[in-house]
């Protein structure tokens, strides 16, 4: 066995290491090519902005591992913010409004799951439909206009996504770290533990890897899928709450395109499109890589039109390298 083949066998078990290698490569590239990249402010920007979409990515990753897609996460994201904004403005207590929004999002996710498991429609198509439907709900409840909260700063907002001033002040100029980073970390650790150390996690991999065999072995594949769809909805709602806690305004197009960024992040992170394979760590690394790309390109004064092209290129490279490096022959 050559060194390369042995390396490939070893990497096959650690798809997130491949993502980590890409991440380090891009990081080094920007450290050299982009001025001011290796500053606390730039890095804090990457972490803070990645943490919001990152929470959505975690949900999408778990769902992808169980073999399904959810294209409606962006629309669910918008619905959550509208529910929160309109409830608080109507006088509902902030915590109650938050719980209501999260409940509704979990429900929307569960509806996705029920549609997919009972009708047999591929999740790609089913959630394409619910993406439009939920976007319609967001526009309807919002009246097609922005909804903002303009009152006194709420303690709840500081708990959800306040600035971490104690750490921020350590650098000059002050950095841009926010509490959403901690939420992102907590959700990542909890979901990672659930996936790798519990029977539920085992069943998720089984459902995605080989649904027929899993069902034959007594895995409740339907229940797992519905749970995962509900979980994706819940995490999209949570991410939406965190973003609203920072910038208390939502527009009818909020979250559009988020579903594709989430899938891209998962794929870059080594989560297999066919299901049954992947890690939360990998998906998080994928998200951080995409966000780092945006900040790095701004610092390099690259024209904004190049961003999407660069992200697409990295995505293709990541998929090809993931397939090649971790292929088990």
């Amino acid at each position: 066995m050559t060194v390369v083949t042995r390396l490939r066998y070893q990497l096959a078990d650690f798809s997130e290491v491949v993502a980590l290698i890409s991440f380090v490569a891009v990081f080094l590239f920007f450290t050299i090519a982009a001025k001011n990249f290796l500053t606390l402010f730039a890095i804090s920007n990457v972490l803070t902005f990645a943490s919001i979409t990152g929470i959505v990515v975690i949900g999408v990753a778990v769902l992808m591992i169980s073999g399904e897609f959810d294209l409606s996460v962006g629309s669910t994201f918008a619905v959550a913010s509208y529910v929160l904004a309109l409830s608080i403005n109507a006088g509902v207590a902030p915590v109650a409004a938050l719980l209501l929004a999260l409940l509704i999002c979990t429900g929307l996710g569960a509806i996705n799951g029920l549609i997919v498991t009972t009708s047999g429609i591929p999740s790609f198509i089913a959630t394409l439909g619910t993406m439009l439907a939920y976007r319609g709900i967001a526009r309807a409840i919002g009246g097609g206009v922005f909804a903002s909260y303009k009152g006194e700063r709420l303690l709840l907002f500081d708990v959800l996504n306040g600035p971490m001033d104690i750490v921020n002040r350590l650098s000059d100029p002050p950095a841009n770290l926010r509490v959403s980073i901690i939420w992102f970390l907590v959700v990542a650790v909890v979901m990672s533990w659930l996936l790798t150390r519990t029977r539920y996690g085992n069943w998720v991999f089984a459902t995605g890897g080989n649904p027929g065999a899993a069902l034959a072995q007594g895995v409740a594949t339907r229940r797992i899928k519905v749970i995962n769809f509900a979980l994706t909805g819940l995490l999209a709602g949570l991410a939406s709450m965190l973003q609203f806690a920072h910038r208390a305004s939502v527009d009818p197009l909020r979250g559009e395109g988020m579903e594709l960024i989430a899938v891209a992040a998962c794929v870059i992170g080594g989560v297999r499109l066919a299901g049954g394979y992947g890690t939360i760590a990998g998906a998080c690394i994928g998200m951080l890589l995409l966000q780092m790309l945006e900040q790095g390109l701004v610092l390099m004064r690259v024209p904004v039109q190049v961003f999407q092209a660069a992200a697409g290129l990295i995505l293709i490279i990541a998929v090809v390298s993931n397939l090649n490096l971790s292929r088990q022959e």
Partner: protein, 357 residues
């Protein structure tokens, strides 16, 4: 008997005389309750214009190589109005020998724009010019730029450092409310104008909302009804929305669009419905080749011109003058409009619409 008659006559006459001259007529005093106004001291709020000291810690460097970052809430790629602004930016950059990078989101997304401002600040440019499309949402990232010692000025969108409560240098643009108000008055005076609608393609943009508000106020003042209709930046979708609105509200014959992204679907709607000038009255903001044609053919009564080329050019120019010669804008608002382009002066701008106008 004679004496008795004389006595009776005398008494009668005397009684008559006494009755007739009984004294002055009786005056009746009537008292009634009259409410008495009591004036009391009422505290009155006095608003003073607070001079916001804009600290611009800059030592002039005439030979400096400069690079600026401009952050906009829209791009030429999907809103043709901005092509003129970006033409101004590029021309100024070339003529003054400075480097500029223009950043903006892929769709009208204020959250994304705010994130881009933060990312621009990380780049430590020599100056940042940006659109203050939502002063509440953008205050935090702009303050970060100012606290980092980067000169900031607003162009195209904003109300000035005092009204926005953010100490940037100046706002280079037009008074949006006035534009809408004056435009509204012109349209309300059109013969047969009954009710109006403001077609807003970027609801949530404080400036565009102010234009519609001005228009609504003007029409209400003239005794007409008016409302706002939200359309999108997608021309086909917008045309459908306008068409559906017209079917539901056939008596609305005054239309105000807020830019080429509103005017173009409106023109397509007019053509599809076969409506002639005089059946509907149309006014718009900004210029484009289609709008110029509209004014020429009488379909459009006027275009409110904010001189976008000057906005882009001026933003780069002011930052360059600040950095190189220490020159600071004098006033919190440096107006570029509103100006009215109509049939009387269209000849001046005809050739240049879309590129320099």
């Amino acid at each position: 008997m004679k004496t008795y008659h004389w006595l009776a006559a005398s008494v009668t006459i005397l009684a008559l005389v006494i009755t007739a001259c009984g004294g002055p007529p009786a005056t009746v005093e009537v008292t009634r309750e009259v409410p008495v106004e009591i004036t009391k001291e009422v505290p009155v709020e006095v608003t003073r214009e607070v001079q916001v000291t804009v600290e611009v810690p800059v030592t002039p460097q005439p030979e400096a190589e400069l690079e600026f970052i401009l952050v906009q809430h829209a791009l030429c790629a999907w809103d043709s109005f901005w092509c003129t602004v970006e033409q101004g930016i590029q021309d100024a950059a070339q003529q003054m020998g400075v480097k500029v990078t223009v950043l903006g989101p892929d769709a009208f997304d204020l959250e994304k724009t705010a994130a881009l401002i933060d990312q621009a600040v990380a780049g430590r440019p020599d100056g940042i010019a940006l659109t203050v499309t939502d002063p509440v949402l953008f205050k935090e990232p702009i303050m970060r730029a100012i606290d980092a010692g980067i000169p900031v000025l607003a162009y195209n969108a904003g109300a000035g450092p005092i009204k926005d409560g953010i100490p940037y240098m100046t706002y280079l643009g037009q008074d949006e409310y006035q534009g809408g108000y004056l435009g509204g008055l012109r349209l309300a005076a059109a013969p047969g104008a009954k009710a109006g609608v403001c077609l807003n393609h970027q609801v949530g943009h404080a400036g565009l909302d102010a234009r519609c508000q001005g228009f609504l106020d003007a029409l209400k003042e003239k005794g007409q009804t008016a409302e706002v209709l939200a359309i999108t930046n997608d021309p086909a979708e917008s045309q459908t929305i306008i068409s559906d609105f017209h079917t539901a509200n056939p008596d609305v014959n005054v239309f105000l669009t807020l830019g080429p992204n509103g005017a173009n679907p409106f023109y397509a709607f007019l053509e599809a419905e076969g409506l002639a000038p005089g059946e509907v009255w149309h006014g718009t903001f900004d210029l484009s080749p289609e709008i110029v044609n509209g004014i020429d053919t009488g379909v459009t009564q006027f275009a409110v011109d904010q001189q976008p080329f000057l906005q882009g050019y001026g933003a780069v120019m002011l930052l360059t003058l600040l950095r190189r010669q220490g020159i600071v804008p004098a006033l919190p608002v440096t107006p570029t409009g509103p100006g009215f382009v109509d049939k009387s002066n269209i000849g001046i701008v005809k050739q240049l619409a879309g590129q320099y106008r």
